[in-house]
Subunit: 398 residues, 2 copies
Amino acid sequence: MKFSNKIKRCGLSPIRKFYPYQVACQNRGMKIYRLNIGQPDIKTPEQFFEAVRNFKQPVLSYAPSPGMPETIEKIEEYYRNIGVEIESGDVTITTGGSEAITFSLACILDDGDEILIPEPFYPNYKTFTYTTGAKIVPIPTTPEEGYHYANREKIEKLITSNTRAIMFTNPGNPTGTVLTADERRLLADIAKEHDLWLVADEVYREFTYDGEPLATMATFSDIWDRLIVIDSVSKRFSACGARIGAIVCKNKEFQGELMKLCQARLSVPTIDQLASAALYDVEPSYFEEVNKEYKKRRDTLYAELKKIPGIVCAKPQGAFYMMVKLPVDSAEDFLIWLLTEFDDNGETVMFAPGGGFYQTEGAGVNEVRIAYVLKSEEMVRAIELLGKAIEQYNAIKK
Amino acid sequence: MKFSNKIKRCGLSPIRKFYPYQVACQNRGMKIYRLNIGQPDIKTPEQFFEAVRNFKQPVLSYAPSPGMPETIEKIEEYYRNIGVEIESGDVTITTGGSEAITFSLACILDDGDEILIPEPFYPNYKTFTYTTGAKIVPIPTTPEEGYHYANREKIEKLITSNTRAIMFTNPGNPTGTVLTADERRLLADIAKEHDLWLVADEVYREFTYDGEPLATMATFSDIWDRLIVIDSVSKRFSACGARIGAIVCKNKEFQGELMKLCQARLSVPTIDQLASAALYDVEPSYFEEVNKEYKKRRDTLYAELKKIPGIVCAKPQGAFYMMVKLPVDSAEDFLIWLLTEFDDNGETVMFAPGGGFYQTEGAGVNEVRIAYVLKSEEMVRAIELLGKAIEQYNAIKK
């Protein structure tokens, strides 16, 4: 049977593709410190479950296609509180941030169009882009420069007549890089000057650790006609399984086109939407505690990594990821070895190989993404294992 | 700003686009008998809500991308019970039947490809197809022939070198037409002979009213390599707001391609999936009662419609829709008039205009889709209103 060219260009998730090795390793009785996946261990606020239990309608019916008014209002209020002028119709609820990006790109990209994305980037951006028929043009960065990409010269030389958009994650996944105010302004300026859409994936907005104020591109009113902000409750409230996201865009024509896709998929899960609205009632102390915990993890991770000879990494300022360059030839081979051969008192460690986060062929082969989703004590042991493993691995391979 | 050509080809839902008229009408204090939307009024089984309330995990985490094992097993068992040999890996959970179709078409259709769909059809098929860049080639039917389409000559003359698939809803939405065993076999044969995919949307499977046994295309083992069955809990268990669907396909290569899309969107809502698994424990008496209710509504609807002069309609055998040809020039104009001018003791009636269910320009303009989602007593009044309105409307227009 014949499959579409578009699906053939897509690949399996580089984060999830080592799952069979993980299972086999666990079946041998090994304990694996899993730093490979962005599933936080933070408790989902009780407000969510309370709202779930309080759902009392006898018929679980479709929600309105743009989202339930209760949920939209909470998100509107959230944006007003961070300094964005929000009007009715600016917020559309989606099935997770994933659908928010899929729908946004479907509205703006055609076959042959190009979208600029700084690499390394969230690997699912590939599938979201390829299914539209468009191409990703990567904005290159280096571990040595802390993966910073907001550089006029670097970006402008990649813009062609086929370029339609710039998309980025801020705070960054997988790099943890946080844009400065000047860098955000620069991206806005470039988009304006070259008449491009700007897709700002800000699902990690709350997760910054060096005193940066809550930031969104949506405070730049001069780019409202071209700005699409991707949002989600998944990371903000540790509610990944709710699959509730949102698109914030003040371009009414865009919202009109988007509504075609929203109506076709009918609606977003009703109970999860209502429960997600309740999440916006958590007190500011929730975020303070969560951020304190992640900051501690980040600091532990960075301090422990610095003890391993030959490692290159920049201290991430946000999200809960870090890209690390390892002194090995291939992070993929090393990971398979970790899951099949390495054993330190019945324990090993797992991360996401870096290659899958790059568009450029061959880039990132000796980098890995570490998600600091484990408690600090566990992280210490995990990085100890990593250090021991690198030493053993290189001794064997030499 | 520039939008994609693909999104420009899509339209708003013809079912939902009269919503502003509906709101204005209700704001004038009118009661509207709403026969325009497929939202059943049947109670969602208590098992669903019980499972929702029993969810006790502290972190609402991502579910596995192919679906939760608990839910997959229940659906596998359901298919075994209706005579389909199901192996592990044949069932993938999706966010509603909508995502099941979107993903299936993305796997098999490219720009310029053609998919055959009998018309009138579920209007969202347009958006699902257009976003892949493919074209819909309608298989024409007539109200006079009860909208039957499984005719070798009719179908074969539409097949070209660009044809990739045949897609149909059985039992039919919007027609209520149910394929006979011979017709199902014929569609399988045509797909085989012309090497086409067969996308069988069987979300209304349980809803047949004339003693037909539960039927699925999946019992034809000779087309397993080309058959994609679309399934959902929405109608089966009156759980539209759960957004839990499934793809059943025994082609392993297809499942492999599909997994790329599933991994990119990460997962389907966790709590809704678990609660949907519980739905498969409802006793057979649930379906008997629901079907008895719908059969009564269908019979009432048909009997009442027959009293209106000039109406053409076939008695539907399944689903809960009926296409009806009205003695008016334009069903859209008539609907607007119903919502703005007509008033019978403060009451009016609403349906979905037929044109949006057709691909062929100008077809279906004097047809409407009636969803028999109201209780019989209410349906009697609704059709009485329709009859009175047609008489008044035609008197004014002449």
